[in-house]
């Protein structure tokens, strides 16, 4: 009989073994919820579509994302129906107002939020089938660091971490980056800082994060972590209006400061992810 509490060996998270990431898949993630991750995903998709790219946004939060709410879309057929064999994949992909395609998970997918090997295989199969049909696939992942989020990110060739200048958001973004670096051996992580008060704040935050990472996270020699600052989205009252009206900012107010910033971001993504990968 042992009096010693057995050290709990955490089960290896589903995404512990890095999968071979699929090409031109961009995961949009954040540590904390409520930093505008889905807002960025949807409007970035619209901006990329405007540049002539074929874009698919996938609700990779398996039914917990707010993509349907942001886009005001309530499709009858979702990824859940594809998983359960009730519908074909083509029927679950719908056209969003911004000229891009959307695949929503459907609330039934919550049941899959524990990733069994079967679910992973299904998801991977679906993803591999989808990727060739688009110039870029955006994965709108869940908030927090869960199996599902890590799995979704592991499928992506690129990852954007969205953060706001708030300390809680920064801490959680930092923690997320540590996990992505530690578990998935990622070197390059793209940063988008949302709701910045002043020009240059976002870059300063990225630099700050980079400095703390350099000091506290050891990586394999020759494989330093690189945070790539992709842009700031300024705090803009128009954003709130668009969200409340459930419109895409890129459509309702394409010339407001936040929309212009997202258009810039789209150009950078097009250049760094789509063109480079081509």
């Amino acid at each position: 009989m042992s009096d010693v509490i057995q050290p709990s060996q955490p089960k290896p998270p589903a995404a512990a073994v890095p999968l071979k990431p699929l090409g031109k898949v961009l995961a949009v993630t954040s540590g904390k919820g409520g930093v505008g991750k889905t807002f960025v995903s949807a409007n970035l998709a619209a901006a990329l579509a405007k540049l002539g790219q074929r874009v698919l946004v996938l609700d990779a939060d398996l039914g917990l994302a707010n993509l349907d709410v942001v886009l005001n879309l309530y499709p009858k057929i979702t990824l859940h129906d594809v998983f359960t064999g009730k519908a074909k994949l083509e029927d679950a992909i719908i056209r969003a107002p911004g000229g891009f395609s959307v695949l929503l998970a459907g609330s039934g997918m919550v049941e899959y939020s524990r990733l069994t090997p079967e679910v992973r295989d299904d998801f991977l199969r679906i993803m591999s089938g989808l990727v060739p049909h688009y110039d870029i696939v955006l994965l709108d992942t869940g908030a927090g660091i869960s199996d599902v989020v890590l799995f979704a990110v592991s499928l992506a060739s690129e990852v954007i971490v969205v953060a706001t200048p708030e300390p809680t958001s920064l801490t959680d973004a930092y923690a997320t980056i540590k996990v992505l670096v530690g578990q998935q051996k990622r070197q390059n992580i793209r940063m988008v800082i949302n709701q910045t008060a002043r020009l240059g704040d976002g870059r300063a935050i990225t630099v700050q994060l980079q400095q703390v990472l350099d000091r506290f996270v050891t990586t394999e020699p020759g494989r330093p972590i690189k945070l790539l600052h992709m842009g700031d989205i300024p705090a803009d009252p128009t954003v709130r209006q668009a969200i409340m009206r459930r419109q895409l900012l890129m459509q309702s107010s394409p010339s407001c400061p936040a929309a212009l910033a997202i258009a810039q971001l789209a150009l950078k993504i097009e250049d760094a992810v789509i063109h480079r990968g081509a």
């Binding site: 042992s2 009096d3 057995q6 917990l64 939020s113 869960s146 300390p167 809680t168 994060l209 703390v212």
Partner: protein, 272 residues
């Protein structure tokens, strides 16, 4: 008894008055007398007060396990659902423990079912003492118990689980003159994935897996399924907020020390 004149009740009930004489309340009353030792309202109470007290009693009764007085499965499920809701909205960590008395069948087979019941009652009492008032301990079925610990950080969760194991191990149950029994429990636990709206089935299953591990590894031990934990030290945090310190020093002091909710706050192993 006079029919109620409370307009509030009247507006919400199909009939505007209650005639207790027409209701058959004797069985319900007897049940509450017997099971709950419930004090009935004084004679001057109104009919609706009287009826309400019976309804309250029956509600309470329907949530309790008759043998141990712990929450029953029905209550457990409701509390678990509420905990998931809180975790998903606030990111507050919550722990679910599944417990099983080791070799309980032997107690029943050797000393009889009454002795078994006494052991169950003693262990139940013990469990209740090991947790906070805000926690819910339930009899899951047979010799299996469950505990839901909302707002439970990792260090606390591990300590409680271990305290339960130790306390039960030290427990001596006198089942008859001259016969004292000692039992142990195996404990498995899982934290709810923070910020994620999980399901009761998935969460319970994760805790169950750990319980089976505890059983397989020789019983009388604790296994907790840790979720992905990332440690961000105070020093790291201070550095992270360096850029803010120039602009807003006053409120920075409030946030640099501890993390809200703890979605990334809990400490242990480094991922590498």
């Amino acid at each position: 008894m006079s029919p109620t004149s409370n307009p509030d009740v009247a507006s919400k009930t199909p009939s505007s008055s209650i005639d207790l004489q027409l209701l058959q309340l004797d069985d319900a009353r007897a049940l509450l007398d017997h099971e709950m030792n419930m004090a009935l309202p004084p004679p001057e109470a109104s009919a609706s007060q009287y009826l309400q007290s019976i309804i309250n009693g029956l509600c309470e009764l329907s949530l309790k396990d008759p043998l141990t007085g712990l929450a029953n499965r029905r209550h457990f499920r409701t509390v678990l659902e509420r905990a998931i809701d809180v975790v998903a909205r606030s990111g507050e960590p919550a722990l679910l423990l599944m417990l099983d008395i080791d070799h309980f069948k032997k107690v029943n087979d050797t000393y009889g079912h009454q002795a078994g019941d006494q052991v169950l009652q003693a262990v139940s009492k013990c469990l209740g003492k090991c947790v906070r008032p805000m926690d819910t301990v339930a009899r899951y079925g047979g010799e299996e118990f469950a505990a839901i610990l909302p707002n439970c950080h990792t260090s606390y969760g591990a300590a409680v689980a271990e305290r339960i194991r130790e306390t039960v191990e030290a427990l001596v149950v006198q089942v008859s003159p001259g016969v004292s029994l000692k039992v142990t429990v195996s404990v498995g636990g899982a934290y709810a994935p923070e910020w994620v709206r999980s399901t009761t089935a998935l969460w319970t299953e994760r805790a169950d897996v750990q319980l089976y591990r505890a059983k397989n590894e020789g019983r009388n031990r604790v296994f907790l399924d840790q979720q992905q934990e990332i440690y961000v030290s105070a020093e790291e945090k201070n550095l992270l907020f360096g850029h803010l310190a120039l602009g807003e020093p006053a409120w920075l002091e409030n946030v640099s020390g501890d993390l809200p909710g703890g979605s990334a706050s809990v400490a242990t192993q480094r991922v590498n």
